[in-house]
Symmetry: C2
Subunit: 248 residues, 2 copies
DNA sequence: CTTTTTTGTTGATCCACATCAACGCCCCGA
DNA sequence: TCGGGGCGTTGATGTGGATCAACAAAAAAG
């Protein structure tokens, strides 16, 4: 059994499940060796497709830097984003040959990849990676379910407010900027990506942003920088009860 | 390592992860013993709440019979169903104290429950349960993502058609009724549950059902029994590309 | 530099679905 | 037998967001 100890993750690959195992060299050195040999990094430019639904998946991967978007498109072009992959998030589906969804790089993305077959074998032999993967998948499932409430029942204004609240919270965590005062951040996604995420059109996204600005809920510097003078006010607009812990 | 063999699941508890382990008596008999001692069955009447979001979760459980609905409600009463739990589905979240969502019995439900703490311990010690749980969670995540496309981008008619297609497919699997001809099944859920699931109102659900009936896409006997004369036609109405594999 | 493309904003109009309201049917209890 | 409540249908009307269209600003390309 793996020793319970505080492990310092190495820097290169975030705190992905693979990394975690690779660092525990004292307990399962052979697996470390196997993994190191199979690891490969690959970079995708912003906008570049990473995989299409139905493609054969040769690898599983972990996001090192950047943001990737999981999405689905209907024949007539209607598109819905169904997930965001941030650094340390896992991509791929042990036990499945074909990808279920399209994944594209929203910003420039660096992936840390492993061949799928050996990874699956490793998963069978080692409980720790499996446990970590289970936790991550359960988190994603919870986030997806929160998102279903947003898509099914929230108004356009609530949707926009929710999205801004999520991004603000994430930025706050990243920057340790948990001061209760005003906050500010850059939207690094386009209006189109926001629309695809929220189940809206770009026109509606644009209109609701200006409405929130006119009502003083948010401020804007240029087209991409958002100011939040009163975060609880924004949460209230989002219609979330109290904390509204969306994290995807 | 567990021997790779064809295992016949016992009847009482579906093919839940716990069952799977309990049957492998030859490889891990001690775990079997532990589990048998902790198992308890509980029945909920149709409409009865099973757990509320925020409640402390003393147990994890597996659905033995019946259907349970996972849902979220906003302060003003807007509700969205975010998942269905069918026999053999797992309920609960290893490693989390409080429930994230409301769960209610849609029909009469029998659960096979285990105390959470010992179950978590078991999960750490035994990879097989974890792997099965991971597979189930990944399946649920895929289903949730398909559902996000429905909620975000499909029209009311497409939503209803999708739901009927899902139920029809499930019934076909259960009854081994994979004949290509016409199929029929009972809706055991109310119009309200359908509306909560699809992000619609009950009036719209009702209207779209009559519209589909008038257009010959479906037939109805009474208010609950649905006839599907031409399944591919229904799939086409659902807007799914080709197979449209929603399974939740 | 100019031209073209991408991205975002705003206005006018339309329509799919929500809302409000009335009613029919069935089950159950008095 | 009657009334009442749960469930479902249908009609009339309202409205939030989509659609169609024009344009501004910024970025990229030449």
């Amino acid at each position: 059994m793996a020793r319970q100890q505080s492990v310092q993750f190495a820097k290169s690959c975030g705190d992905c499940p693979i990394r975690h195992r690779a660092v525990c060299a004292n307990c399962e050195a052979d697996e470390l060796t196997i993994l190191e040999g199979l690891k490969s990094y690959k970079t995708f430019a912003a906008g570049e497709p990473i995989i299409w639904a139905g493609d054969h998946m040769h690898h599983v991967a972990s996001v090192v830097t950047g943001v990737a978007a999981i999405s689905q498109t209907m024949e007539d072009g209607r598109r819905q984003m169904v997930g965001l992959l941030l650094p340390s998030d896992f991509m791929g589906r042990p036990g499945r040959e074909a990808a279920a969804f399209d994944i594209t790089a929203a910003t420039e993305v660096v992936l840390c990849r492993f061949e799928r077959k050996p990874f699956e074998q490793l998963l069978i032999n080692s409980p720790t990676i499996g446990h970590r993967l289970l936790q991550m998948t359960l988190d994603e499932l919870d986030a997806a379910r929160e998102w279903m409430l947003l898509l099914g029942r929230k108004t356009a204004r609530e949707k926009i407010s929710s999205l801004l609240a999520i991004i603000a919270r994430r930025e706050a965590v990243l920057g340790q900027d948990l001061t209760p005062g005003p906050m500010a951040f850059d939207l690094h996604i386009t209006r189109e990506a926001m629309a695809d995420y929220l189940g809206l059109t770009i026109e509606t996204v644009s209109r609701q942003l200006t409405a929130l600005r006119k009502d003083g809920v948010i401020g804007m510097e240029g087209k991409r920088r958002i100011l939040i003078p009163d975060f609880p006010r924004l949460l209230d607009e989002a219609g979330d009860d109290a904390d509204g812990g969306l994290v995807d």
